[in-house]
C-alpha cells in the first residue's frame, strides 16, 4: 500500500470517529458493557505494541536485546513519576549506550 494512501485512510477514520461521537445521539455506546470493552481496547492494544516492538525481531521471532533493557529503564522512570519525554529519552539512551558498548 502506498504511504500517502495509508495515511489518508487512517486519518480519515480517526477524524470520522471523532465527528461521529459529536454527531451520533448517545445510545448503544452508552451501554455499560460496551463501554467497558471500548475502554479496555487501548490497554490491550498498547500492551501488544509494547511486547511486539520490544521483544520481536525479523519474522516475528522472540528476540532479547537492548530494547528490553530500555523498557525496564522506562518502567522504573514511570514508577518514579518521570514525565513522558524523559521516559522516552531514557529508553533511547539505554539502548544507544548498550549498543555503543557492544552489549546488545
Amino acid at each position: 500500500m502506498n504511504a500517502w494512501l495509508a495515511i489518508a485512510v487512517a486519518t480519515a477514520i480517526a477524524f470520522g470517529t471523532k465527528v461521529a461521537g459529536h454527531l451520533v445521539p448517545a445510545g448503544v455506546l452508552e451501554r455499560p458493557r460496551v463501554r467497558r470493552v471500548t475502554g479496555a481496547l487501548p490497554v490491550a492494544l498498547l500492551a501488544a505494541l509494547v511486547v511486539t516492538q520490544t521483544a520481536t525481531g525479523a519474522g516475528g521471532s522472540l528476540v532479547v536485546d537492548a530494547r528490553l533493557a530500555a523498557v525496564a529503564v522506562a518502567a522504573v522512570a514511570l514508577l518514579l513519576r518521570a514525565p513522558f519525554l524523559l521516559v522516552v529519552v531514557l529508553g533511547a539512551l539505554t539502548a544507544a549506550v548498550l549498543r555503543a558498548a557492544g552489549f546488545a
Binding site: H22, L46, V51, G60, G91
Partner: protein, 239 residues
C-alpha cells in the same frame, strides 16, 4: 477564535487557561519523539507532519508508525486497524463533550478534531460548563499547535541523524508505548487485559505478518465483559 467562552468570571479564567496551556506544553513536547520515530519508520518529513496535522491523536499515531516500522508498508492495513481501534476512545470522549461544548457547524468539526485525551481531561476536570468549554479550547488548541511544531522538529532531527538504531530510536518507541500504557493500568482488570493482550501478541508474532498479532490481541479487551469483580456482599449473602 470568536467562540465566547461563556460567562467565566475573569478571576476564574486564568487558572483554567494556565492548566490548559501547561497540558499543551507537556504533551506538545513529545511530538519530538513522534516526528523522529515517524521518519525512522520510513515516512518522510511531510508524511510525519501530515499525520500530526490530520490524525492528531498521539496513541494512534505512534501505533501507526510503530507497526509500519516493523512490517513496512505491507503491514499498512494492520497499522490502519490498530490506529483506528486506538482512536475509538476519542469517539467516546466526543459523546460526553458534545453537549458540554454546545457547538454547531464548522466549529463543531474543529471541536471534533481537537477531541483527544488531553482536551477531554482538562474539560471534564472543571467545576462548571463555561470553564469546561474554556479548558477544552485552550488545551486542545495549545496541544495542536505545539504537537505539530514539535513533530516537524523531531522529523527534521530524525532525518539528520541517520541510522535510528545507533541512537536507540527503536527502543524509544518501546518506551513511548510503555509510557502510554502505564497510566491506564490502574485496576486489576486493566492489568489482566494488558497481560493477556501482550501474551497473545507475543505468541502469534512468529506465525503472522507484522501488525496482525497486535490487531488480534485487541480481543483481550473482551475480558472486560466479565462482571466487575464481585466483592463480598453480606447483604446479598443474607438474602
Amino acid at each position: 477564535m470568536t467562540d465566547p467562552p461563556g460567562p467565566v468570571a475573569p478571576a476564574d479564567r486564568r487558572p483554567v487557561a494556565r492548566q490548559g496551556l501547561s497540558v499543551g506544553l507537556a504533551t506538545g513536547a513529545y511530538g519530538i519523539s513522534f516526528g523522529a520515530l515517524a521518519v525512522a519508520a520510513g515516512f518522510d518529513v511531510w508524511q510525519a507532519c501530515a499525520l500530526s496535522l490530520l490524525m492528531f491523536t498521539g496513541g494512534s499515531q505512534f501505533a501507526f508508525v510503530g507497526i509500519v516500522a516493523s512490517g513496512g508498508l505491507a503491514a499498512a492495513p494492520s497499522a490502519i486497524a490498530a490506529s483506528s481501534m486506538l482512536g475509538i476512545r476519542n469517539g467516546l470522549y466526543a459523546l460526553e463533550l458534545t453537549h458540554l461544548l454546545g457547538v454547531r457547524g464548522v466549529r463543531r468539526l474543529l471541536a471534533a478534531h481537537l477531541t483527544i485525551d488531553e482536551s477531554t481531561a482538562v474539560a471534564v476536570a472543571q467545576p462548571d460548563a463555561p470553564r469546561a468549554r474554556l479548558g477544552f479550547w485552550v488545551a486542545g488548541l495549545s496541544v495542536f499547535v505545539l504537537w505539530n511544531l514539535t513533530t516537524l522538529a523531531g522529523a527534521l532531527v530524525g532525518n539528520a541523524i541517520g541510522d535510528p538504531r545507533t541512537y536507540g530510536l527503536d527502543a524509544a518507541a518501546c518506551a513511548a508505548f510503555t509510557a502510554l500504557l502505564w497510566p491506564r493500568l490502574r485496576s486489576r482488570d486493566a492489568v489482566a487485559v494488558a497481560v493477556l493482550g501482550g501474551l497473545v501478541a507475543l505468541l502469534l508474532s512468529p506465525a503472522l505478518p507484522p501488525g496482525i498479532p497486535v490487531v488480534v490481541a485487541s480481543l483481550a479487551a473482551l475480558l472486560a465483559l466479565r462482571a466487575p469483580r464481585a466483592t463480598a456482599n453480606p447483604d446479598r449473602a443474607a438474602a
